[in-house]
Amino acid sequence: MKVIVLGGFLGSGKTSVLLQLAEFLVARSLNNENTTPVVIVENEIGGSGVDNLLLENQGLTVKNLFAGCACCTSSVQLEDTVSYLKKEFDPQWLVIEATGLAYPDKIKQTIEDAFLVETEIITIIDAKRWFRLIAAMEPFVSGQLENASSVLINKVDTVDEQKVQSVIESIQTYNKKLPCYPISAIIKIPDDFWERLLDQRLIAL
C-alpha cells in the first residue's frame, strides 16, 4: 500500500484533483483481483460531507472521516480507519484527502509512524487566492507546504502567467527546492503528468 496525502487550503481544488488522480491510478493499477486499486479517505471537518458524495457517485471506494481533522482531533480515528482499510481492501493506493484546515505533514507522520508505509504529500494551492491567504493566515497556509513532495498550483486558468510565476516564487521562499506544477483541474490532466509526478516520488507505479 502506498499512501498519498492530498493537502491544501479550503477551496484550493483538492477534490477536483483527487477525481483525476483516482481515475489515473485506477486505470494504471495492476489487474490484481485480490486488491482494490484505490481507496480514498475523505476527511471533513464538519458533521456531514459534500465531497464524499461526489466521489462515491464516481464509483470510488470512499471511507468517510467526519467531524474532526485527521491531523489533530481525529488522528486516532485516522489510524483506526487506515488499519481497517488495509485489512479490508488491501489497496494498492490509499489517498487521503485532508480537510482544508489540516497540516498534511502531521497526517503523513501519523501514517508513517503507525504503518511504516511510504507516504507522500501533494499540496494543492489556489493560484488566484494564494496572496490573499498568505496575507491573512501566512503561518497556517505556509505550514501546509511542510514536507510536501510537490505543489500543484491549481486554477491557473483564472490568472495570467506572470501571477503564476510570482506564486511559484512565493511558495519557494518557504522551500526553494519544492517542485511546483501549474495545473487547471477543471480540464483533463494528462496521464504523463501523473506518471512523471508519481514516478519521481513513488517507485513502481
Binding site: G11, G46, S48, G49, C69, T99, L101, R132
Partner: protein
C-alpha cells in the same frame, strides 16, 4: 440540549484521555456558591451537575459537577434550526442536510444565486470564505411493478425532490449572523 445520565463527549469514551484543562475534579464538592452566576469557564452548568464519568478528568473552570448533566463543551455545538455549527481553529463550520420538494433545475439555480450572495455577504463583513459547498441529489421517481401472471402492471409516481448537503467554512464573521444568512438561503428554497 441537556443530556441527562449520559456523557457523550468523545473523550469521555476513552479513559486515558484527560480533560483539556489538565486539572482533577473533586466530585465531593459543590460547584457554585451562587448557582445563578455563570461559571468562569464560560460553560453552562447546573449546580448539581458533573462533567465527567470518571474522576480523573476535569475542566478548566475548576468546578465540580454532578453526574446528571453533560458539560456544555461535551454537548453538540450550537444548533440553529437544522444547522450544525462547529469550530476549528478560527473557522466557523456550518453543515446541513435537507430534503427539498421541487424540481432539480430551479432549486440548483436558486442555490447558485444564494451561495454567491453568501460569499458576497462574507466579503462585506471583512470575513474570509474558506469554502461554501453544496451537493445536490435529484430524487422523486418511483414505481411498483407487479404481476399475478397475466402481464405486468406498472404504477409510477413522481414527486420531485432534491437532497441538499451543505458545508460552509468561513472565517472572521459573526457566527449568528452567518447562520441566519445560511438559513435565509435555505428557507427560500421551499
Amino acid at each position: 440540549m441537556k443530556n441527562e445520565h449520559q456523557h457523550q463527549h468523545p473523550h469521555l469514551e476513552q479513559d486515558e484521555i484527560r480533560c483539556s484543562c489538565d486539572q482533577d475534579h473533586d466530585h465531593s464538592k459543590r460547584q457554585y456558591a451562587h448557582p445563578d452566576e455563570p461559571c468562569s469557564c464560560g460553560h453552562d452548568h447546573h449546580e448539581h451537575q458533573n462533567h465527567h464519568s470518571h474522576q480523573e478528568e476535569s475542566y478548566i473552570c475548576g468546578h465540580d459537577h454532578d453526574k446528571h448533566e453533560i458539560h456544555e463543551h461535551l454537548r453538540p455545538k450550537t444548533n440553529l434550526g437544522d444547522l450544525s455549527i462547529t469550530h476549528h481553529e478560527n473557522a466557523i463550520i456550518i453543515s446541513a442536510e435537507r430534503e427539498i420538494s421541487g424540481e432539480y433545475l430551479p432549486i440548483k439555480e436558486a442555490i447558485a444565486v444564494g451561495l454567491n450572495g453568501l460569499a458576497d455577504w462574507v466579503e462585506s463583513q471583512n470575513g474570509l470564505v474558506g469554502h461554501i459547498k453544496t451537493h445536490l441529489t435529484e430524487k422523486g421517481k418511483s414505481a411498483i411493478l407487479s404481476t399475478t401472471g397475466d402481464g405486468v402492471q406498472v404504477n409510477e409516481v413522481y414527486h420531485p425532490k432534491v437532497i441538499l448537503n451543505l458545508a460552509v467554512i468561513v472565517f472572521a464573521v459573526d457566527e449568528a449572523d452567518l447562520a441566519n444568512q445560511v438559513l435565509t438561503i435555505l428557507n427560500k428554497l421551499y
